[in-house]
Amino acid sequence: MLELSGISASYGAIRALENVSLSVAAGRIVCLLGANGAGKTTTLNCISGVVPLTAGRIRFEGEDITGWPIDRIVARGIVQVPEGREIFPELTVADNLLLGTWLRRRKGGAARDFERIYNYFPRLRERARQPAGTLSGGEQQMLMIGRALMAQPKLLLLDEPSLGLSPLLVQQLFGIIARVHADGVPILLVEQNAAVALAASHHAYIIENGEIRLDGPARDLEQNEEVKAAYLGA
């Protein structure tokens, strides 16, 4: 459903992506693994329209979306959960979630979405009236995912959701990611935590220095000697 063909991107003189091709089939969880600075976030930002391409095309559900502005891409159904703690700290948890519905605000139905998000993340229901800045790191991560789901995405882009979370929380979070996927949302997952990401995905890509090094079914890559040595610490 999503297809990047030969995309490149740079920040001024720094080349960040070089001829990256990658695709996410409908109904899949695909992960993009790589070390710090490999170009994972840049790839997601190219898809979301935050970073412009210098070459290549991006197609979504058969439509060429290359060069579209961010809001149009979100409206089309591709929603990114950025890296870090990108929340609205002084707004309440509920208002943070509500803003996820911005682009479909005239259509209504937010109440049903709130119910759905609170089902995934009961903690957010308890904290609904609290300023989002007072949440713990893990809760903020959940809030960002919840906010993205409020937009009713057709494809969810997750940038290092496990960053800074305890192993137990990472496990919980990936349990929820699996539920979200089972409820019908395909996912492109960016991770440094290769073991967890490979276990959760169908297909995986490995990016190094802005280029795709390797790709294949996640089960195969888990057994790949190179991947084991470089990313699984074996």
Partner: protein, 299 residues
Amino acid sequence: MTLLILQAIASGVVTGCVYALIALSLVIVYKSTDVINFAGGEIVMIGGYAGMLALLYLGLPYILIFAFAAIATFALGALFDRIVLHKVLGRAVPGQSILVAMVIATVGLSYVLKGGVRVVPYTEEVRRLPPFFTGEPIFIGPVVVQRQDIAIIVVAVVVMAALWAFFSLTLTGKALRATSQNPRAAALVGIPVRRMRMTVWGIASALAAIAGVLLAPKLLMTPDMGVIVILAFAAAIIGGFASLPGCIIGGILLGVIQNIVGLYVGSNAISVAPFAVIMLILALRPQGLLGGRVAAKKV
């Protein structure tokens, strides 16, 4: 003596409400764009003249005069952001601050507005708008209050309440706050960040213009009346330049301080009072009276 003090406080509250409106205008721009708007005072002046134009040439009733001035300056502020500040932002070089360029652009705007008003023939004559209300002053206990002053307070309170309702109850208001707290995250949920910035400039300019129309019957109108903005800066700084309730408290406090200084020290000292307040607050309590700590700005 106590009567004099009460009287000074009452009239200080009236002018303070107007300072508060201008301070709100400065602070909502600062909070959402990091830009200190040095043209704030000139937008007050433009608002006053727009009101005068509406009264003299269109003969509108006062309520529509406020609307006319607010809409005209909303467009002015939004266009300034769209035409000038967006251009400056577009020239951004990574790692280099464009804030200085943006602030200088507002200084430029202030001169353009002042110069522009000067070349309009009917501003040569110094004028004053007629009061909104005439008639016997009202006694609140022993304190005498002009009907005009009550009208000023009512308008200011209505505007502040509307602003509060907009920012805390409507989705657009929440989206504006979200944009100022985290523009990147706002963009990723599909909020049009640039249009939000234009809207903030528009709302801020409309607030300043309403203050201008409120001032026009009290002050002599000249193209230089924008210097009043220094009082709003003082009010905003009392509030820590970040808090909207702080602006209101700061404005009223400043209005009262001015009058008390006038009463005890002499009327020459009145114009020094805001500068003294600014320096005192910055030296002793830079986070403002309400702020808990000096907040590090995130980018």
